[in-house]
Amino acid sequence: MGDTEDSVTSKRTVFVTVGTTCFDALVKAVDTLEVKQELSRRGYTHLLIQMGRGTYEPTKSLGEDGLLAVDYFTFSSSIADHLRSASLVISHAGSGSIFETLRLGKPLIVVVNEDLMDNHQSELAEELAERKHLYCGRPQTLHQVIARMDLESLLRYHPGDATPVAKIINKCLGFPDD
């Protein structure tokens, strides 16, 4: 028990996820010296990158250089476990990743992919950032977001449910409302 607590306090992992997309710009951004420096300045020790269909391979590191230990993989069936053990999540703007992270109550930075043609996904990230549930940035501004973020000021997201929809559907179909 003492051991696990120790490792929890000493190991602070940043988990980067791009879902099933190809988002090399984000992987490149977290692989830059400025982002890594900023992250270790804020007390993070490990950087784990899920790179999806991207082709840019970040430089692995064991952290001897005083910076973060860096590791990466393409896909995994245990994304939920990685999210759970992370101290900070940096994610693409997909609604699945966003809400899975928020539901776990993890601090989140969403990075919008500007290369997507129909970029409606920034709408969701920006709205949730306005409501102070997460931070939102672009690959080029990621290090500034990390430098400026104040995780204490983030508000916990309370998941919604579909009962209002079910009520209206029941009423419309003539089912008793209960």
Partner: protein
């Protein structure tokens, strides 16, 4: 000569009457769209369109709060390129049986061709759109659902349009419910816009208040996630 004139007159009259009947029927269906179902029934057959990724996750959230014993049989449709969604539906259906919500198997799982994959060229997409429409028609003739639940993306459009045409033609009356994705905060998706503007959806739900202000016929229901 006179015979020709008569022929012409009858042909024009016939076409005019047919068009008038179709328009009256169309207006009647549009008038009834969104009104509560007149014929009550304890169980209705339902088509559930799974849109992949976040769309499927939101749909599963909706299904989890609906009383599924009221929707029987249930037909799940997902895009042929999406292998995750039907798997999730299978897990959900198994949980219904385990929890004794339903007795026996009353669900079917189907795949549908997509009219256009991301990145496909527009020339080949003419052919694939035709194929996808024919496939959608074939599935809908088999299913003839009384309830259609969908939340985008484009996969649901041919199915909804066919369901609406079935209403106009008197083949099957259905209630179509569309929930716009949580990712749409300021603007409707193309699928949502089509179903809203053409009044195909009986009830239209949005998850952000900004959208309800823009589209007043929509219900604002808060976030599903």
């Amino acid at each position: 000569m006179k015979e020709m004139d008569d022929c012409c007159f009858f042909a024009i009259a016939f076409i005019a009457i047919t068009v008038a009947i179709i328009i009256i029927r169309l207006l009647h269906v549009l008038y009834l769209t969104g009104k509560p179902r007149r014929i009550k029934s304890p169980q209705l057959s339902a088509l559930i369109v799974l849109g992949s990724g976040g769309h499927t996750a939101e749909m599963m959230n909706l299904l989890s709060v609906l009383q599924m014993d009221r929707f029987s049989p249930r037909f799940y449709i997902a895009a042929a390129t999406d292998n995750m969604s039907l798997q999730k539906a299978h897990v959900f259906e198994d949980s219904l049986i385990d929890n004794n919500v339903i007795k026996g198997v009353s669900a079917q799982f189907m795949q549908i061709y997509r009219s256009r994959e991301v990145g496909q060229s527009y020339i080949t997409s003419v052919w694939t759109t035709l194929l996808a429409t024919a496939h959608a028609l074939w599935l809908m003739i088999k299913i003839r659902p009384q309830v259609v639940l969908c939340n985008g993306p484009g996969t649901c459009i041919p199915l909804c349009v066919i369901a609406f045409l079935f209403k106009v033609m008197g083949i099957r009356w259905s209630s179509i419910f569309y929930v716009e994705s949580i990712a749409r905060v300021k603007k409707l998706s193309l699928s949502g816009l089509l179903l809203y503007k053409l009044r195909i959806a009986d009830q239209f739900f949005v998850q952000w208040p900004q959208l309800q202000r823009k589209y007043p016929r929509a219900h604002y229901v808060g976030c599903l996630m």
